[in-house]
């Protein structure tokens, strides 16, 4: 049985057993992929798995706008599942109403998305494949290169192309604020493009420092193809190294940045005698 048929079967069973009231996945209608909520088991024949289409934010919105006891199944990839974990940790929807059917991505897809963990926690469809380290990608290496001068030059050139479409924020599964700080004239001057490189892009990036699940939604949504996800790589690595924390992998553990040093220590600050950043010699 092919992957797609397996997916269709699982969706059909979930609906027939009354496990869920609807399954959110892609559907192929007139040879075109649509996001679709299958509520009738017979329709699951149209279910489709390609192309990669982020559904986490859509699932949240569907749960919010349906009746309180509506249970939604979702066929989603690892990044969507992690995004849904982060959203439920932030009380955006009740996780009990969500039934995740995890789909593992192919190595090629991981290569395209520069994804380090191309599989969900519980894999229902497909096999686990090798993650891809963003630093391997030739274009990404320019943005993450060791020499700050090269990095700055590439980021400054790339970010000065921004047309402030807010696509990065609109497609990010974690960005749910309404109103959003980026539309507040205090932080980012309104009505102007390019969006101020530092205050728009870095404030947006930092808001996702401990919640970004590296789904690549921002990079996919950027009309002038700025590799926005690469802004998060260094911070995600810092969280992994300092606290062993990765966003979206643990429903209980909150971001370590919110807690006390006595509860979750931060190694660079724990060096004996660390009192201020001047003492730390950055030249090494």
């Amino acid at each position: 049985m092919s992957l797609v048929e397996d997916a269709r079967l699982k969706a059909k069973n979930a609906l027939e057993e009354g496990l869920v009231d609807g399954v959110l996945a892609l559907a192929r209608v007139e040879d075109e992929p649509y996001p679709y909520v299958f509520e009738d088991a017979a329709e699951t024949g149209m279910l489709e798995l390609e192309p990669k289409w982020l559904l986490a934010k859509l699932a949240m919105n569907i749960l919010r706008s349906s009746r309180q006891d509506y249970r939604l199944g979702i066929i989603c990839r690892g990044c969507d599942e992690r995004a849904l974990n982060e959203l439920s940790k932030r009380n955006q929807f009740d996780p009990a109403r969500l039934h995740v059917i995890g789909l593992a991505c192919s190595a090629e897809q991981a290569r395209i998305c520069l994804c380090t963990k191309p599989y969900p926690a519980s894999i229902a469809l497909g096999e686990k494949s090798e993650g891809f380290d963003p630093r391997e990608d030739e274009r990404a290496r320019m943005f993450l290169s060791d020499d700050p001068g090269t990095r700055m030059q590439h980021w400054a050139a790339e970010l000065s192309r921004c047309i402030k479409c807010y696509g990065c924020r609109n497609s990010c599964p974690i960005c749910v604020c309404e109103p959003c700080k980026l539309e507040d004239d205090l932080w980012v001057r309104r009505g102007e493009i390019p969006a101020d490189m530092v205050s728009y892009h870095l404030i947006r990036a930092f808001h996702l420092s401990d919640t970004c699940v590296a789904c690549g939604g921002c990079t996919d949504a950027c009309p002038v193809n700025i590799p926005l996800m690469l802004l998060q790589v260094a911070m995600r690595e810092t969280l992994a190294n300092n606290y062993g924390y990765e966003a979206g992998t643990d429903l209980e553990r909150l971001s370590p940045v919110l807690s006390d040093l006595t509860i979750e220590p931060c190694p660079p600050l724990m060096e004996p005698g660390w009192l201020d950043s001047l003492k730390v010699n950055h030249e090494t």
Binding site: R64, Q68, K89, R90, N91, Q92, V176, C177, E178, P179, C180, K181, D184, L186, W187, H207, L254, S255, V257, L258, S259, T262
Partner: protein
Amino acid sequence: MEDNKQTRCFLCECYGEISDVVDLESIRKGLEHHPRIVSCEKVKSLCLEENIDELAKRIPLSPESRVLLGACSFLARGDAIITGLQKRGIDPKHIELVDLREGCAWIHRDDPASATKKAGDLINMGIAALVQRNYSEDLTIEPKQEVLVIGAGPAGISAAASLVKLGITVHLLDRAKTPGGLLNLIKKIAPETDGTPQHVEAFLYTVGNSPLVRYYPGSRISAVRGSAGDFTVEFTSGSDVKSINVGAVIIATGARVNLPGSLYRYKELKGVITGIELERSFKGPGMKVTSAVFIQCVGVRDADRPYCSAICCPVSLKQAIQLLEENPDAEVTILHRDIMCPGSVLEDYYRKAMEAGVRFVRYDQDTPPGILGAEQVEEIRVYDVITGRERRIDAELVVLSSPLIPHDDAARVAELFDLNRDIHGFYEVRSLMHPLETTKDGVLVCGSARWPVLARTAILQGEAAAMKAFALLNTDQLTATQISQFKERKFSLALVDRQACTGCGNCVAICPYDACSLEADQGAYKSTVSQMRCTGCGSCVSVCPNGSIQLPEQNALLIGEMLKAAFS
């Protein structure tokens, strides 16, 4: 900035200290047509009484009027000027003090031109702050004139007894069935001579017969809500669930004796007992013993528990003296790493033990005493640090003196009241200046729950806690900003824009005072702030993704405008 001329600006020359460096005239001229400045004057000085009188005359008392003082720093004379103006009816929150002396003139004497520019920027920042500053609404409640005391040990009972004398209703709650806590296990309280029962009776008498005390033995707390002056505590007492509303909480849950585990062949050999078991035997028929050896610091002052429990040495001395009283010919030796008996009373007690014939041998942590014997303990071998030789002591009884450690449910109680605990697990107090206050206003801690203490000190701390609780409640109006333990009023109280809040819970997670909580509101979660608990530190503001929680006195717009004005 649209025109809204409400601010009067006064630049102090400070008899030349400021005006020699900073060209105040150019700043004054610069402010003449500023959209927000009504008038700007230079004055010789501001801090003398007559200056303040003169100043107050020129400031209308209308609620919109604002004052900008370009003078010295708050810690210098700024504080005096502001309190002077406050005495003359001007709300200190409508005054902005810009430090032109310590913050500018005195530290840039060699560069007057840039100092003047910096002074102009600092003034602009001050204006920005004044314009953007909002004011938190204060919250006033009537504190409940009742106190919950948790734990009926020496500390708890003493707190209850003190409060009753002050006419405060006390809810005395204890996990055990009988009051007295550890006292019940003790025949005599070290170092006093009279027995413990009299103490317990004395307390029970005051506590038992007072109509103001409601005693709930065998009960367990299930939930705590509210803040200083108005706590709601739910607990199960026996089968039924009760809920009480109190103004303050005194935690006197005491501590428990740590069992030595397998150290010194405890539980393996007969005759190896702990201090508590010995004490229980004294309450019973007593124990005729010919030779006994006490071993101090059992399972403490080591890597796992690097602290001195302070009560074990006095207790061992007491028990050694009692053994000798019952059998003067007995051989009693105390193997110790140090005898901790500070103070005159305990020092005298130590001397009394020596006179009674107790022998003391000092051993080293790395060469602990060896216990020999097949089923029954027969002999102790210990390397005597002083003489450098190994001693062999016959003993039919070995008493292991172990420390007090926090109760097993200390973590649960800390969670309920959101208290911090130190690395050993005892409830942490706020600071040296506030020895019984926890980080939660209105929640006090005393007795061994705070740190292992002898009964006498526990009683003393109980009374102190009672006084503190009374001081908090002894008013009919408790205002949120005034409740802070710091000298002046709280800086600000966080305010949530419920419409913008996404209910993400960052503020709830980060708040050091557990002041934020999430409330379900038509299917979505919204954050609410308990003004009593909030201390205005601003941690929540810095992690709120869309700034829906703000400190009115220092909101994001204020900092943004100050940043813009910084180098305009």
